[in-house]
Symmetry: C2
Subunit: 339 residues, 2 copies
DNA sequence: TGTTAGCACTCAAGGATGGAGAGTGCTAAC
DNA sequence: GTTAGCACTCTCCATCCTTGAGTGCTAACA
């Protein structure tokens, strides 16, 4: 028993209805829809088939049907080929994204809010891995005895800082000298190649420059900690509006996931695909087994990419979400790469 | 009709009970408590008086009594004189606060989490106003045509950055020169005095240094935006465990407040008092009319102070919260001022 | 052979009913 | 001033019943 044109039509109608109402869909409802010219009885027969095929489920006898995970997957796969940008709403979103500051953090933060406002779901935006960004400037500023700030300015205007402990005997002048040298040596190099460059530099240095080599080792150790722990969440309360989260315990679990930034970062890993959709059980976390996560990516500067995503109920409005994500991905890319 | 010893004893017993159970307290319950040697009937008479005085309320006839806002206020005022640090738990908290990094952000973030874990309420930690911090280093790094990053390193290891638009015709060398000059002139000056120092510098400069004056004006304009928008929240989901928030709509309102950082910052304004307690209707926001906010302050470096606070139901365990806040305030102060 | 009308059946949701239990207020006795 | 006793009130919970939505099956129809 395959999935002919009519079955697909009915399935799609059921999903569409369920997405907006969150209530089991009955045969009469579908029968009344425009574009479906069959009586409830016929629909019932088809629904029965669809259930047997695993696309529909029944909460109990005499309730309507609800789409299964398998149905969403089919729906989304078919849908993906056809999505396109909405036209008038783009402008509205673009307006909201308008901000004087081109500061990365500001843009990202704003994007998270706009995303959640536009979709009414929860949004997550992950700052690009900075490893591939190029270094513009390195500065070590003494703060107190034995402690200094390591500041790295990269392309795309990202500033990263870390506290480092510096070897005894280094004066402020030493540190400035080191900063100048580091900036010269590292300018225009990607952060991930620092380690290697350092190794070469230390090798080439005279043995009498022991102090310098020490300092560089300390810095190198801290380069790793100068990484991107930035995950921004927007509209964390939005999901509570949906009947799926009428149960407070469930809502609590969900919010706990949002608070663990490491977890979120993992969940958002899109694997470089343009649009990635993970439906319900496709997520590793059991807390999110009735959520779907849709992610897209944006570019910052030349090649580093970040991720933006939406977390919503499995019955989310995929079509709209995909559209918005696609549009926002482009918008962010443009803002962050603007010269 | 005053509030004699016995009335206060009974009131305190009622509040204590209500704090743990969240259920209206009956006369029998109080009568059974150790330290109260009266029959339920006597308690009832006293309760009736207390209700008339405005300290208790009755959800409906034949329900027990619940404390009013006025009762909490009295309770807290009396209590405040007597609070003291717990002893064994301090160690546990201190352990959790242990972190290699002395980076301000890391310490604050950790503090928010520890606070919410220790109290089971929602915690908010506000980074000190950086206006009074002293400048260590100023650097302007060109990022692209007409755009540069302004980076300011202050005492206490806080790094602030902003995107600035620079006048045409300034080369990278110019910017480095300016950076050096600015660092020389501004070192050890508090950020809030920058404006005045700039005014003097520009006045003293020869007319031929127009470019420099322009650049400085741009920087001055951006100093304001290099301010502290950092508010960290911990355990936002914690409050959902309490029956007060069994209603999802209420929970949603609460979470929305947490998302508006500007709002939070305002709410946390402690006014410099060591411990500030705002109970229910004392908060401006109607969404928080059945919440209490307890805040304490911590010091960073020499004189700038930040705020840490707990948001919980009005029936929160004030005694414990005050204790924990007091302890944490000291712990953070110590970590951030450590040499 | 596919489609449809008719009908009996099922089940959840919602409203009414009726104890059970907790708690109060009042009165009278100690 | 304190307490026992008692009638009274009100919520909570379980039970029962009705209603309505929806199904599955069968038989008739094109």
């Amino acid at each position: 028993m395959g999935l002919d044109e009519r079955k697909f039509l009915i399935l799609q109608a059921i999903i569409d209805d369920y997405i907006t109402t969150a209530m089991p869909v009955g045969s009469r409802t579908i029968s009344r829809k425009a574009g479906v010219g069959f009586s409830p009885a016929t629909i019932r027969n088809e629904m029965s088939d669809l259930e047997e095929l695993g696309y529909l489920a029944q909460p109990h006898t005499s309730a309507g049907r609800i789409p299964s995970y398998k149905a969403y997957r089919l729906y989304v796969d078919k849908l993906l080929k056809a999505y396109q940008l909405s036209n008038d709403e783009c402008q509205r979103i673009a307006e909201h994204m308008e901000t004087r500051s081109r500061q990365v953090e500001a843009v990202i933060r704003r994007a998270a809010r706009v995303l959640s406002d536009a979709t009414k779901y929860t949004s997550v935006v992950v700052v690009p891995h900075i490893g591939s960004l190029r270094i513009r400037h390195v500065q070590i500023v003494p703060v107190s005895e034995g402690v200094a700030m390591l500041v790295i300015v990269t392309t795309a205007g990202i500033v990263k800082d870390a506290v480092i402990h510096i070897p005894e005997g280094l004066t402020a002048d030493h540190l400035y000298g080191i900063s100048r040298m580091l900036t010269e040596q590292l300018a225009d190099k990607p952060i991930e190649s620092v380690r290697q460059i350092f190794a070469e530099m230390i090798r080439d240095m005279g043995q009498n420059r022991k102090l310098l080599a020490d300092a560089m080792r300390v810095i190198e150790e801290n380069i790793a900690s100068v990484d991107d722990r930035d995950v921004y969440v927007g509209g964390s309360a939005n999901l509570l509006s949906y009947p799926e989260y009428a149960d407070v315990a469930k809502a609590k679990n969900f919010l706990a996931v949002l608070e663990s930034r490491e977890m979120l970062r993992k969940l958002m890993g899109s694997g470089g695909v343009e649009i990635s959709i993970r439906i319900g059980p496709e997520n590793e976390l059991p807390e999110l087994s009735d959520c779907s996560i849709v992610t897209a990516s944006y570019r910052m500067g030349d090649q580093s990419t970040g991720t933006l995503g939406i977390i919503g109920p499995t019955r989310m409005d995929y079509s709209r979400v995909i559209t918005v994500l696609h549009f926002m991905g482009n918008a962010i890319s443009q803002l962050l790469s603007e010269k």
